[in-house]
């Protein structure tokens, strides 16, 4: 069973382990690069500063002769914003649906879970490709599709977590006094599923970053001439041997970011499970 703890104390508990701290540092590194990068970048990301794959500057020029370092420093912001937005959409919708399905049961449960099954039949990347194939890679569509592809996965987890709470007698104790259902969901159930909720947030953020970067890498996410890490890998990988930095920098950034978020998520999961089991302190 997972713990009933405040999110803040969960983070504190998680931060006691070395792995989580490493994760937090890694995330901070990439986030700072993405946020402050545009301020310190030597050039505009779309300026042509040299010959294609030239080596005049620190990390050279890319396939069109733009400064690799500048494009790298500009290329993280949008990825971060979109990933966080998609995560919030997916986890928000998924949690709401999962809690309704778990608490109310009956036809609502059936309906939500069966619709979820249909969405689950598509691998996330295929679902995203399907929707951008005709409508085109629009930013709002990317966020919506990635978010909604998370939703049934989150809903399953939150439904299970809710079911475990609903079986407990304090929910019945609230029902027997005639407390409203919405109040029971927000006051009795939600505070007791924060453990899995936090874990899902971390997990879905990791996946959102990977998925949105992958779509850009496929050429179906963010579009040229935007500076974006996934897109940079796509544009420059043909010249990997000549100009490796244009690929290595974004690859390392994405890797460090996802490893960081996953280490934090793992810390949260272990803290939540550990607290629930009443591990000897």
């Amino acid at each position: 069973m997972t713990a009933a703890v405040a999110p803040a104390s969960l983070l504190r508990t998680a931060a006691r382990t070395g792995r989580t701290r490493v994760g937090l540092v890694l995330v901070a590194l990439v986030v700072l690069t993405a946020l402050l990068g545009p301020l310190v970048a030597p050039h505009d990301p779309t300026d042509f500063v040299g010959v294609p794959f030239g080596r005049d500057s620190l990390f050279g020029a890319d396939n069109l002769g733009r400064d690799v370092l500048s494009r790298f420093l500009h290329g993280g912001q949008l990825l971060l914003v979109l990933s966080i937005a998609a995560t919030v959409v997916g986890v928000g919708v998924g949690t709401a649906l999962g809690m309704v399905a778990g608490y109310r049961g009956g036809w609502r449960d059936e309906l939500i879970m069966r619709i979820g099954d249909v969405v689950l039949a598509f691998p996330q990347v295929v679902l995203a490709l399907l929707f951008v194939s005709i409508a085109g890679p629009k930013v709002w569509l990317l966020v919506t599709v990635v978010g909604l592809s998370h939703a049934p996965r989150v809903a399953r987890i939150m439904r299970d977590a809710t079911l475990m709470v609903v079986e407990r007698d304090f929910v019945k104790a609230a029902e027997v006094t005639g407390t409203r259902r919405l109040r029971i969901m927000t006051g009795e159930i939600l505070p007791n599923v924060t453990g899995p909720l936090m874990v899902e947030l971390g997990l879905r953020l990791t996946y959102s970053i990977g998925l949105i970067a992958a779509l850009s890498f496929l050429g179906l996410g963010l579009q040229p001439p935007t500076a974006d890490w996934g897109l940079m890998i796509n544009e420059n990988r043909i010249a990997l041997t000549v100009q490796p930095w244009a690929v290595v920098l974004p690859v390392v950034a994405i890797a460090v970011l996802t490893i960081g978020t996953n280490l934090v998520t793992d810390g949260l999961a272990r803290a939540s499970a550990g607290l629930g089991r009443g591990v000897e302190r």
Binding site: P123, S133, L220, V247
Partner: protein, 313 residues
């Protein structure tokens, strides 16, 4: 049990039907002019009209859907808008290539990962377990194209030019072409299986029946192989299936990365070219693959559970 199995099958078929509706709606009913989207801004009114006629875009949605579904059921999902080939003919060999890739990854990763997970659980909290935990956490975090590019950088460029960075053939796949894409997929799905196997084994090893087996004085090897592992396989089978089904989507990015001639690469190509009939057919195919693998996993875990197995007697 047979009834349960039939129920799952019927359910799978229903999901597949619902999936076909989603595929159709996502490509045909989103706002915007489909023909315009396919042909681009420069298209002449005549060409737009011709395409609308060819794709029946002026028909009502429902009849469009049923004529498309009818085509699918008779194995004739139309012609590619790009090269004019019948979709079935175009997709056929690519399915084989993709299946070879997926099966290779599955056959390599599953036993290896289950062994690693068990080993890690047995060595719980020792150095080997910690190393496995960190490595699987890192690998599980990485998007598959990051893993793939890293493999390319290590094995296909620089001093070690052991393997081709991308596929350069004309449709026939050899072992050498398979190594890096398969390895990428193994590294993408393996960590989840390792972690799940470890977690399940730890739970089983802490169970009272394993305690009882130890208190009977059985050798640890017997405790592990006879009492623990069989009880862990059931729950893990579900995760294995989920991961193998994930391969159906994982091939998309990996095939694109390695230019591997399979359905995933074809899908990305088709989306870029707005080749509507091919996109529809491939999306449906991949979803179907996903459903079938999950169905198989359900059946396996039904058979593996003595409670269900004995219920029919």
């Amino acid at each position: 049990m047979v009834r349960l199995a039939v129920k799952r099958l019927v359910f799978g078929a229903l999901i597949l039907w619902a999936v076909s509706v989603v595929v159709f709606l996502a490509t045909a009913a989103l706002p915007g002019d489909t023909a315009q989207a396919i042909l681009g801004r420069e298209a002449t009114p005549e060409r737009l009209a011709a395409l609308r006629l060819e794709l029946h875009l002026d028909d009502p949605l429902v009849s469009q859907y049923f004529s498309w579904l009818g085509g699918l059921l008779t194995f004739d999902p139309g012609r590619s808008l790009v090269n004019g080939l019948p979709v079935a003919e175009f997709v056929g060999p690519r399915i084989v290539n993709s299946l070879v890739l997926m099966l290779t990854a599955a056959v390599v990763s599953t036993p290896l990962a289950m062994f690693l997970g068990t080993w890690s659980a047995v060595r719980r909290d020792r150095a080997a377990d910690h190393v496995t935990a960190v490595v699987t956490l890192v690998l599980a975090a990485l998007p598959e194209f990051v893993v793939g590019i890293t493999l390319v950088i290590v094995f296909a460029t620089g001093p070690l030019r052991l393997l081709p960075a991308v596929y350069v053939g004309t449709g026939q796949v050899t072992f050498v072409d398979l190594v890096l894409p398969a390895l990428t997929l193994v590294l993408a799905v393996g960590p989840y299986i390792v972690r799940m196997m470890r977690a399940t084994m730890i739970e089983v090893l802490e169970s009272e029946y394993v305690q009882q087996a130890r208190l009977k004085g059985l050798p640890e090897r017997t405790v592990l192989l006879r009492h623990a592992v069989p009880n862990a396989v059931g729950p893990v089978a579900q995760v294995v299936a989920l991961q193998l089904a994930w391969l159906a989507g994982g091939v998309v990015v990996v095939e694109f990365l390695f230019r591997y001639p399979g359905i995933g690469y074809a899908l990305v190509d088709a989306v870029n070219n707005r080749d509507l009939p091919v996109v529809q057919a491939l999306a449906l195919l991949i979803a179907a693959l996903y459903i079938v693998v999950n169905l198989l996993a359900d059946l396996v875990s039904l058979v593996a559970n003595p409670r269900v197995r004995t219920a029919i007697r």
